[in-house]
Subunit: 310 residues, 2 copies
Amino acid sequence: LMSEMRETVKQRFNTVGSRRRFWESLLDGPVPEMVFGGQDDAAKRAIQAAIDTDDDKSFTQGEVYLVGAGSGDPDLLTFKALRLMQKADVVLYDRLVSPAVLDLVRRDAERIYVGKKRDYHAVRQEEISANLVSLAQAGKVVVRLKGGDPFIFGRGGEEIATLADHNIPFQVVPGITAASGCACYAGIPLTHRDYAQSVMFVTGQLKDGSLNLNWDALVQPQQTVVIYMGLMGLSVLCSKLMEQGMSADMPIALVERGTMPEQRVLTGSLSTLPAIVAGETMHAPTLIIIGEVVALHDQLAWYEGESNSV
Amino acid sequence: LMSEMRETVKQRFNTVGSRRRFWESLLDGPVPEMVFGGQDDAAKRAIQAAIDTDDDKSFTQGEVYLVGAGSGDPDLLTFKALRLMQKADVVLYDRLVSPAVLDLVRRDAERIYVGKKRDYHAVRQEEISANLVSLAQAGKVVVRLKGGDPFIFGRGGEEIATLADHNIPFQVVPGITAASGCACYAGIPLTHRDYAQSVMFVTGQLKDGSLNLNWDALVQPQQTVVIYMGLMGLSVLCSKLMEQGMSADMPIALVERGTMPEQRVLTGSLSTLPAIVAGETMHAPTLIIIGEVVALHDQLAWYEGESNSV
């Protein structure tokens, strides 16, 4: 029956992709049951009706999934994330997606590296968004894979705003953000009845040797502060926090490659950690946790990975 | 060979559980290869050596996995969480774990509901911790399942501190916290280059009609504030924030049953949302998001679930 109709379908749909999608959508509907049930005429009429209704445009619209790849351990991927990674025609990923996670993308999917540098590149971000739009318009199922969670320092909002402007369907899949993954694997509760009633996430990227942070908001009682991308600015951060009134003894941890087999946790205080870190070779990604809760690491650390905590 | 040794094993180990664990540990070792390789005598000697070394105590130590169950959608479970849920002898869960997630626990596992009420019950928390200890000491594989992430308002730190005190092995598995799940499914980026450089999580539980919050920390520029468990205190929260200088026009969203099919998103401003919510019947769990980013919901909402946004 399909071969009988093939020529008609070929005339109606111009691309291999839209023909394949036409047949796929047909096979998902009632037609196969009609054929199995001996209703060949009904099946033919249904196919003809579908041909009359659909055209290339019905099957060239792609979709974009903005997916959080989590903090590094592939075991922390969500089911939804993996399913979409397995469905993708194209995957755009950046520097923070761990190789172990990237290995789980569908074998024959096209992989595009759009790794962002530490510094700010407005044009680059616009290019990524434009790329997502044109791939989806070409009918591709696109996964935009981001380290951690797409809505926490992922600039995911900007990318889907561009998609929305172009009426491209999208979904957003949360991921285990670095703060959550590193805290759990380092044995440092982010909130705790006795030590922290709130937790705050900020980025700590150095700009011309200084940090543009709201110090007033950071130096507050009973609060845990998590700094993303703060390794380069660690010394400046610690000095400035002490200058703003935070105790020099405040516990602080640097989690290197959190949730990955190479995880290391360096702990100290605002006055001691910069020197401890300066004596080590550090590898991205890193995360900084500041607050009384960090002192619990000694008792609550459980993840050994391949190396040991310092 | 196993039936030959059965009587000896029975005499050495008193419980069915420790006998089962003895055989399991043996089958994980080199003994099966010896048998398959025709080295029956070597296998017998290895089994006898294991019997001489091990006793009941070797196989009665259980383990506790503190597992984040995520924000509600079972599709947002991590692979690690599901695997441990499938391995558990006993699962302790509370009110915030969605029924759809609980359905994925191993069929024959014992389920213990330890749901906590809104108010603070110190004794209750101590009971849960004591329960975890005694189950692990009885040799059980215990999963302590918590809504969201165990280290973000989960009081997970207290539970594993008790385990550490009793030398019970444990692991902590991060989960998609409500802030992350609700933000993604509601189309509200928590951070955004133009509107928010930081995000803060607090709890908003009413106590004697008032909220014990650090208002100074909440009212800060370019910051998104997420309030867990804040529905009952919504009116007080909005009034107080305006009193402390936050604009009456500041966008605010209440996400009901976020990431679940029944998800609803109610949006307004500090001055209008309490009246909007008062006109609706709300169901737990709910999450409040405050900040300029909330205005993006109109453009970026994508998740339809079964009902519609208001």
